[in-house]
Subunit: 174 residues, 2 copies
């Protein structure tokens, strides 16, 4: 069975107990957007006490702010969020590689007949790895605070945190 | 109190009951990457029966595949996932606007002294809205299946689903 089919099966129980969640509003009730990593060990709802309807949750490899900008603009302009909480985490995959290494690996993995064709595109891809966890958080918070495209009134409510995958604990660093 | 401070408070309980999660491995146990929207009403773990450690979860405004590509490449190349399950959902904010309208709104919201300076960048931003839910899912699945940068062996295990925010139910459409 595919994992997708397992999801559909597990979903049946969620639907049965859905209840009052059917009437939740589109705008996040707590007016906050969370940016965090796609890492499988992270459950934002469980670890931060979120209920359905509370917060936008933006996740990508590393929890990088640049890639989240489109989503954050939509979140602020159309859906009323006024705070941003960004997390990167210990033991992140982004600490384990650099762009050149992953580009080479990617080119080796594609079908031989398209390798030359994709090489220029692959050589321009940036995978946004980082070598220092705390520094990456400070850089991403600084990037958001400096962006002219985010609402000025929210700039004092942008914070950066480490999520520790070995304890589940969050600690503010920016 | 900021929402971030409320998160830190709620996190204390999670840390106390963290237990065996401290020894979870970095690669997702179920070898799957989920792509879904940042929408506040969606809790992937609760609605799909996910435990910490199971799956990469990539979330952005709309659950758009193009923006998820960097993360999916990292997921496949470095962390061993071999299936992709993509969800868009009913009542999505992406169904409510178009690029021109949001660009105008964004320009009006920035400080007057930087409005001219940011206009060229804003006019080039695409916010990836869509006007037909089912079509957007089919297009995103087709985009992933056509990408030469994703592993060929995974192409038969890319599926697209509607998540219904009024019932919690997931339904496959691609």
């Amino acid at each position: 069975m595919s994992v997708a089919a397992e999801f559909a099966k597990a979903n049946e129980g969620y639907v049965k107990s859905f209840g009052e969640k059917a009437s939740l509003a589109l705008p996040p009730a707590r007016k906050v957007a969370i940016i965090t990593c796609m890492d499988a060990r992270i459950d934002p709802a469980a670890s931060l006490g979120l209920k359905e309807g509370d917060a936008h949750v933006i996740r990508n490899a590393g929890g990088r702010a640049q890639e989240a900008l489109r989503s954050v603009i939509i979140s602020q302009q159309l859906l009323g969020t006024r705070e941003i909480v960004l997390f990167h985490h210990t033991d992140c995959g982004m600490l384990t590689f650099n762009d050149d290494g992953l580009r080479t690996k990617l080119k080796e993995s594609v079908k031989a007949d398209v390798r030359n064709a994709v090489t220029p595109a692959v050589d321009q891809l940036s995978f946004l790895p980082f070598s220092n966890l705390e520094q990456s958080i400070k850089e991403d918070v600084a990037y958001l605070k400096a962006s002219p495209l985010l609402l000025e009134e929210t700039k004092t409510k942008i914070t950066g945190w480490v999520y520790d995958v070995y304890s589940g604990k969050v600690t503010q660093v920016a």
